[in-house]
Symmetry: none
Subunit: 416 residues, 2 copies
Amino acid sequence: MQAEIITIGDELLIGQTIDTNSAWMGEQLNAIGMHVHQITSITDHPNHIKTALDEALKRSNLILMTGGLGPTKDDVTKATLTDYFNTKLVLNEEVLEGIEAYFSGRGIPIMEVNKLQAMLPEKCTVLRNLLGTASGMWFDLDGKVVVSMPGVPYEMKGLMSNEVLPRASKHFKTPFIYHRTLLTFGRGESRIAEQIADLEDEMVVQGIKLAYLPAAGRVKLRLSASGTDKIDVMANVDAFFDRVAERLSDIVFGEGKTEMEETLNAVLQANSKTIACAESCTGGTIAALLAKHPGSSTSFLGGVVAYANEVKTAVLGVKESTLAAHGAVSEQTVKEMVMGVIRLTGADYAVSTSGVAGPDGGSEEKPIGTVWIAYGSAEKVFTKQLNLGTNRQRIIAVAGLSALNMLRRAILEGKV
Amino acid sequence: MQAEIITIGDELLIGQTIDTNSAWMGEQLNAIGMHVHQITSITDHPNHIKTALDEALKRSNLILMTGGLGPTKDDVTKATLTDYFNTKLVLNEEVLEGIEAYFSGRGIPIMEVNKLQAMLPEKCTVLRNLLGTASGMWFDLDGKVVVSMPGVPYEMKGLMSNEVLPRASKHFKTPFIYHRTLLTFGRGESRIAEQIADLEDEMVVQGIKLAYLPAAGRVKLRLSASGTDKIDVMANVDAFFDRVAERLSDIVFGEGKTEMEETLNAVLQANSKTIACAESCTGGTIAALLAKHPGSSTSFLGGVVAYANEVKTAVLGVKESTLAAHGAVSEQTVKEMVMGVIRLTGADYAVSTSGVAGPDGGSEEKPIGTVWIAYGSAEKVFTKQLNLGTNRQRIIAVAGLSALNMLRRAILEGKV
């Protein structure tokens, strides 16, 4: 069963606001078996709203609209829908009481424009918004449905969860949709595709869709299928998921929406181990990742950002002779950085980085993108050299994730 | 002159990926005088791409498409456009060389599917992608233009900046548009609006558009005007820009696209001074900002991420008695953290943070969002307490920027 999302507001088109609502709505609709066919962001103009609605109704059965329901003049969605569905505005006493309670509860005087928000199209089912003053509106049209909601994310989410999703599940008889996403790190999309070409062909035959979603250093593989027999669909996707995961086991780091640092945190916490980091070229990025998620202080002790060589020697205890003989971007330096930060913090494990992030500082021997990484424990330190291209932001990001991934694998493989 | 954006990819429709590209593109198009009429996110199906393109071309002159250009089977944009524009794929030798250089530079073996990315539609102008293997494609169609770019944000941004925007400015005769953006930190949008209400009224009369662009802790104020007399438009905007900047001088930190850390770096470099940081709740975020930009090693020496109290005492020399008497989130602790990191690194200036980022760890006395910041030199350290709400990511981001801003102002005011 096909759905569409229409988001209304000039702020979306001039780049003032990133549309985060649609992704959330898409995910929720998918979960109840509605397939989102298109997302359309349009201006606050009545004709544009009507045209977009005409087009969407030709293609899809459920149209969710957000935005343009505020009390100010630039909000035209309610008037436009009243006109589109050839109805008129009538006072909704229950909504009026709700709006009055909303204002008195906050000790703010109510204004005439706010009371007008209780005037709602006669032909629609009013969906009560418990988190704001703009109601949701549900219009039935020959079996198809159009819903209008405010664009404020938490108000929209409240209306979706309490009203729209349960009603839509009931109204539409939808097939079951099932997704699983495999997370890989350190190999390009095309090499992965080559490795699983035969599985991909099999999946096509079985009606399973495979999507490649690349980000810096990572590729997510999403397997999706739909059908009426839930058990059957799940078993089919699960079986292929396992085969793909098995085939790519050397690069898989997780499943679903997990981030690399979360998978490492989980491994550390499961083993009651702590971590520290010593960063040169990544400049604090690894620490920021390790500190990002709630509860990270269980395993993350801290670290040293040794951007200048003087900090490498004075704080981390890297030897002057090492820097003189091998340079800051060298195997020996990152090794001493790991040992230094373990000595300082008492962490069970540590990672370190030193590299040429550019745009200056590259040489023939160590071009931009050269990064040395060390990882390990007080007993055993491993090192690896990477070449990460020439984009400064990407070099920093991929170097950080690589270090976390190398340590994670070493722990899982029992090497450290 | 009207433009549209079409983003292609199932991941956008099922909510796996938030479309951040469109907002950035919308902002860039606006800046060169192209008005974005609609943003459409569609599936990876040839027919859907063709229909969306048909509809967009009826309404607008410039259509920018992103996504679906990878080497794998689920990427169908190139083949679809080749068909749509009734042309054929031909080998582009220059692109092939670029792809080969891309792989050999990374030491990765090139595969047949990657070479196929050098097969490009005969009828298009190929836009070289210096950051990846999928080329941009520029199609002319009776004065209208369709451009296809990869969906990977940094590749898209590179192509937009180097190729698409300059070409579009030249191709379409748009009125002269002039923008200036004032950057403020530490005050909400509505309070700023109240403060400059009279100037805003004057600007409306003068045909100058004022947009408020809020981000974590910051509000950007963009003044825009268009016209045929370039000198006149610029003088008019400049005059109001200066008046607004003067009125808000206590919160202005820069102009244009400068980031907070860049304005601080500039102040440090102008005075030949160095900086270090000692972070608890920000966990490396300040260091990562200071290391982010090219040339940052001139002023940034490094720092200590003291997430655990043991690191605060053992590495930074915070006294056990201080932690016992005042706790880690206290004025005294952040002061000792600044002094400790200056002692360790020899930096001229330092900043430090310690706070409750949540979701756990809040108390009645120090609720979630409580952050202590210290900044200064070996001679003089200032402190400040902030209350930054309850959102963990926002607390971390705003605390980091606040610390940088406080030090910047203190240096400029001659306090340190």
